[in-house]
Subunit: 201 residues, 2 copies
DNA sequence: ATCAATTTTAAACAAACGTTTTGAACATCT
DNA sequence: AGATGTTCAAAACGTTTGTTTAAAATTGAT
């Protein structure tokens, strides 16, 4: 009834499933889904080869499990539409903070998008709620003339595209600077909203 | 001594090597390098499986051959530095036009970048010359105070990042509009340079 | 302590991959 | 026409992939 399983290797005490998920997240982000083998995952996780299929039922299910926390996070997001510009800032800021915390998942998502992967359908399910919320916010911005842009769809693409690639953008990714992540997110939000307005004319 | 080889299938008369290259370019852009099999390429090209290895010496060499014209194009680019802002506009415009003409190659490049592929070294060789030219242009812009930005490196990243992802950017990709590709390129250049200046303060 | 269920391991599995082999078909030159 | 080198197609090759199997080890309840 000991609370600890036999510690394996370097005093890690995580469950096997978590070890597999952590290793898979890192490897997928680094090498891509197809570029990562089950054997690599198990070696990195320091578990036996068969355990991926045993615990998750296959490599693809490991991938899906990685995004389960995100799905639930995104489904519970709510924004106050009475001040749509504030809601827009809040949305962007939350996304940027999320990106900083889960940059591996963002990187995986970018890979899957650019590769037209067969797993995009599932990823769409995960990210669609936040996408739709941004659309609602932008629609409200347009209705109340809180900010000007050509079309909701164009603004949606611009914002999501900028947010997604923002860790490659030197102006949105000053993590090496002296600023706190809060400040960085605020700066990035200003950059995006300015950019959005700059596209008006 | 007939000028035509036996026409195969639907009156295509391209060389086998070109057929393979065309099919590979399309499939790589759609499914990625690793997601594309030699068998798919040969089926799409309507040639026998062994011909990839026979003509090119392997799948990877097909990939390399796709970028050979680009390497030569980029090596011969020259810009007049006496007016660095004009040179910057010219550079961006040429890149956007190139992107419109060879969007498959750009897409492949994006994939390889985001996947950290083992072929990045070769791709770096291809694109480094234009990268360095842009750096020279930006340095000249900064020296002559032709345009303001925080640092050459940051501006470099911003411009290349924007140019690379520009086909996902609704404001840089109005191909469905009534505008000519020339006008589109001009608009995109203005967008980029405005964005660059907006990052100043 | 004993037994049943769960978890882990090592080995083997079929399928798919890029590549090579073999010989036939072809073009080209004398 | 005959010889020679090139190009092609079908089959097979050796790896590597994700997964499964079967036995061993571990766990938890009685």
């Amino acid at each position: 009834m000991s609370q600890f399983k036999q510690t394996r290797g370097n005093e890690k005490n995580k469950e096997v499933k978590d070890q597999i998920l952590s290793a898979a997240k890192l490897l997928f982000a680094e090498k891509g889904y197809e570029g990562t083998t089950v054997r690599q995952i198990c070696q990195e996780a320091d578990v036996s080869l068969a355990l991926v299929s045993y615990h998750f039922g296959g490599k693809e299910n490991v991938f899906f499990h990685l995004f389960e926390p995100i799905r639930q996070l995104f489904m519970n997001m709510k924004y106050d539409l009475s001040d749509p510009l504030c809601a827009l800032r809040s949305f962007c800021k939350q996304f940027i903070i999320f990106r900083n915390e889960e940059h591996e998942l963002i990187r995986i998502l970018q890979q899957e998008l650019v590769m037209n992967s067969p797993r995009l359908e599932m990823l769409t399910d995960v990210f669609l709620p936040s996408w739709e919320q941004l659309r609602v916010i932008l629609q409200e911005c347009q209705d109340k003339k809180a900010i000007g842009f050509p079309s909701v769809d164009a603004a949606l693409n611009f914002i999501m595209g900028t947010l997604m690639q923002s860790h490659n953008n030197a102006f949105l990714n000053r993590t090496q600077s002296e600023l706190s992540s809060e400040k960085i997110a605020d700066l990035a939000v200003s950059f995006i909203i300015n950019g959005l307005q700059a596209t008006q004319e």
